[in-house]
Symmetry: C2
Subunit: 224 residues, 2 copies
DNA sequence: GCAAAAGTGTTAATGGTACACCCATGA
DNA sequence: TCATGGGTGTACCATTAACACTTTTGC
């Protein structure tokens, strides 16, 4: 009864111990392919498995604070924008203890974020989204899948994938990225038509050199 | 260093105490209006405020288990299907201590779920979504808004809002509900066309009595 | 019988898809 | 100079939006 009352007001003096972690699916566009960043680590029974970057939250951190801290600790990335995907609370998802994880995704330009190999990370690598390793730890295969779907939902009808590209990019690069993310093929003219009538790009009037055809470089407009 | 290592493998021996709660936005269709169920309670500084049904998670429960338990404890509802909305982890969202909450939404047929006024609940009421009380506790105004948006996203292009209606219903009722949820007006003929070519309804060949026009009653098909 | 809602098809507009040729550049 | 990719416009198709009259029922 006292128990029930306390429960009801959402405060209990002796809440159980439970780790809350954040895991981050970092997507990038590398070597003309849509990729995800994974770290090889050993956690519990998972020896030398690949994991999303992730780690435990402290009492004075928000979820996003935690994601920032964890991602920096494992990769050296700073000042990243996160989008929440969902929270996973199954009882047996972690072999050692109860761990609830909040999953985020982030889109980054690899050129701006060189990878730093940090302590306790055996390796860190960009994986092509169509060639993800088999030996993923925990339920991270599901997390990756959910994060990818969530990202596609967020991007649908927006084509705002500029966070993944350099400041100036060609329309072919933008289209290729879009095709990679959604695993589709698009007509070049229709793609241009759509993106132009969205009115989100401006032509820098510079041409990209070292590539045939001499394509113009575009950037996203300031206010969009 | 030892600290950092432990953090990295996502397990710390002394994780801090932190309540994890679930809050549930229960949507229903009552008196021809799209509504949400709120409970009036007193929590901390929030005296006699309206809250989503919610409560703390125990160590042996999954997130959904917790939502089931909490909703039953506050309303008497059982066997409800939940959809996760998102997780809120701001530091100051709860006046008494750190509370992280995972928000869910549920769609129910009020006829199947009579409200039971439970202990510690001062009142419990269906509120029209366009007339939600001002004095909501915590950040529940935001939770309601997010849950509503998330629900709309899930339902978009599906028109599957049957969970909110009695087994047999008229097309006008279905259309009205849909218009309520999305705050839009639809053309009757176009709505019928769309819903019929989805092939999800069957005509019971019964007519609804006590209402002008003598509309047919429909139900959702078994396999959809 | 009259007011209110149910039921029913057609047309116009819009948006999306398919498609071919010339031009610029790098090799 | 030639091979490769960049740049451009139009016709067709599919989907959606707009719209008015007749029938049924409750009161």
């Amino acid at each position: 009864m006292e128990q029930e009352k306390l429960q009801h007001i959402q405060v209990k003096p002796n809440s159980f111990e439970c780790s809350i972690t954040t895991d981050i699916a970092v997507f990038g566009y590398v070597e003309d392919r849509f990729k995800i960043l994974l770290t090889k680590r050993t956690v519990g029974d998972f020896k030398n498995h690949w994991f999303l970057p992730g780690g435990v939250m402290e009492s004075n951190e928000t979820l996003v604070d935690c994601a920032q801290k964890v991602l920096f600790a494992l990769t050296g990335f700073k000042d990243i924008h996160f989008e929440q995907v969902r929270t996973y609370g199954d009882l047996e998802r972690h072999p050692l203890k109860r761990v609830i994880t909040v999953c985020f995704y982030a889109l980054i330009k690899p050129e701006n974020h060189p990878i730093a190999l940090k302590e306790n990370v055996e390796s860190i690598e960009w994986f092509d989204m169509e060639n993800i390793p088999e030996n993923l730890g925990f339920d991270h295969a599901r997390l990756i899948n959910d994060a990818h779907m969530h990202m596609k939902d967020n991007l649908k009808d927006k084509l705002i994938v500029g966070e993944l590209l350099p400041e100036k990019f060609t329309l072919a690069e933008l289209q290729n990225l879009y095709e990679n993310i959604f695993s589709i093929k698009l007509d070049r003219r229709n793609f241009r038509k759509r993106i132009f009538q969205m009115d989100i790009l401006e032509n820098t009037n510079e041409k990209k050199t070292g590539v045939k055809g001499g394509p113009f470089l575009y950037r996203y407009k300031e206010n969009r």
